[in-house]
Symmetry: C2
Subunit: 212 residues, 2 copies
C-alpha cells in the first residue's frame, strides 16, 4: 500500500476512539459549528477531555487556547489518518448470507473499502453479480488477484473452510484478512488480521443482559 507520508504510530485503543471523534465532528459540521473544545466533545462521548486531547495530539492536531479545534480541519485530519478517504480494494471470500450482505452494504465505500469481486465454490452464485460486483470461482483467486488490485480479503466462509481459504489468500498475494468468522486464523506475521466476530459480540451482549 502506498501512502504519501508515513503515518505516526498510534496505539490501537486510541485508533478505535478516533472514529467516535470523527462521528462527533461530522455531526457538528452538519450543524454549522466551526470550533469545538475537547470538553465539548467529551460531553457528547464517554471520554475524558484530556484523553481526547492526547489521542488527537498523536495526529499532530492541536486545539487553540480558548477556541478549541477547528471542526473542518479536525474532520479532514481524522479522515486522512483513518484512511477513509483512500480507496482500498478488497475481495469477498464466501458469498453466502453475510458475504452477500457486506457486498450490498454501500456504506463500506464511504469508509474507503471497495469490494471488487466475490469468490465462492457454489455453482449457483459463481458467474452472477451482486450489487454489480462479479462472483468468480474460488479457484480463480490467484490468477485474478493482482489484476483486481485487491490487498484485502474479507473472510465470510463456513468455519471449517476458514484455515484453507486464509492460506489461499496469502498464497495469492493478499496482505490483510478481515475475518468475520468465529474461527481464529493463524498465519504468517507479515499478514494483517482484523477479527470482527459479530457473533462473539452477540455472546458478550447476551451474557451482560443475563447478569443484570
Amino acid at each position: 500500500m502506498e501512502s504519501l507520508h508515513q503515518h505516526p504510530f498510534v496505539p490501537e485503543p486510541a485508533i478505535r476512539r478516533l472514529p467516535w471523534y470523527l462521528a462527533c465532528v461530522q455531526r457538528l459540521r452538519a450543524q454549522g459549528v466551526e470550533y469545538v473544545s475537547s470538553t465539548a466533545i467529551s460531553n457528547q462521548l464517554n471520554v475524558d477531555a484530556s484523553q481526547i486531547a492526547k489521542d488527537l495530539s498523536y495526529l499532530n492536531i492541536k486545539g487553540k487556547t480558548r477556541i478549541g479545534y477547528e471542526v473542518a480541519e479536525l474532520e479532514s485530519g481524522l479522515n486522512d489518518f483513518l484512511g477513509f478517504h483512500q480507496c482500498h480494494y478488497a475481495v469477498m471470500m464466501g458469498v453466502g448470507s453475510l458475504g452477500r450482505a457486506l457486498m450490498a452494504d454501500s456504506g463500506l465505500s464511504r469508509y474507503g473499502l471497495d469490494i471488487v469481486a466475490g469468490f465462492d465454490v457454489n455453482p449457483d452464485v459463481v458467474g452472477t453479480e451482486i450489487g454489480g460486483i462479479p462472483v468468480y470461482d474460488i479457484s480463480e483467486l490467484k490468477e485474478r488477484r493482482a489484476a483486481l488490485g485487491a490487498e484485502i480479503a474479507i473472510i465470510a466462509v463456513p468455519v471449517e473452510k476458514v484455515a484453507e481459504v486464509a492460506d489461499m489468500c496469502v498464497d495469492a498475494g493478499i496482505k490483510a484478512l478481515w475475518n468475520f468468522t468465529p474461527f481464529h486464523i493463524k498465519t504468517s506475521p507479515e499478514i494483517t488480521i482484523q477479527n470482527t466476530s459479530i457473533y462473539a459480540h452477540l455472546a458478550v451482549m447476551y451474557n451482560r443482559m443475563e447478569q443484570r
Copy 2:
C-alpha cells in the same frame, strides 16, 4: 430475559474466546472426532492450552485426564452458555444499506438472534418487507415493542440520529443496544450496550497495513 439457571460470571476476554472454541469443536464434530484435549485445541488456535482449560472451567466444563473433553458435550455446553440456542428477539433501527444487509443475514438466527421488525423514517421502505421482516415507521416503536417481544435494538441509523434513536429505544422498553455506528452511545447504566464498530475495525486494519 428469563433463563433456567443463573449463568456463572465469566470475564469478557474469556467470553470473546469461547466462540473460537465452539467453532473449533463444531469442526471436530463434523469430522467425527469424539474427544479433544486442550492441547489439540491450542494447536488449532493461537491460545495457550492452560488458558483454554481455565476459560472452560468457568463453565464447569472439565476434561478427563488422558482423554480430554468430550466434543459433543463441549459443543452443547458452549452453545448453552453463549446463548446461541436461545431465541433473542431484536428490532432493526434504520433500514439503510447496513440495516437491510443485517436483516437479510440469516446467519444471525443460528446465533440466537431473531430480527422481528425494522423501523425507519423513509416512506420508501416503511410498509415494505425485507426478507419477510416488516418495516414500520419509527414513531410506532413504542406501541409495537412489547407485542414484538423484542429486548434488543440493533442501531444502524445515520450518526447524527443515534443519540435520539437510542433514547427512543430505552423509552420503549429495550434492554440492550447493539450499536453498529461509530457514535458512542451514552445511556443509563442498566442498559447493555454492545458496540460493533466495523468501520473502526477498518481503520485499525488500514493502520496496521501501513505500519508494515
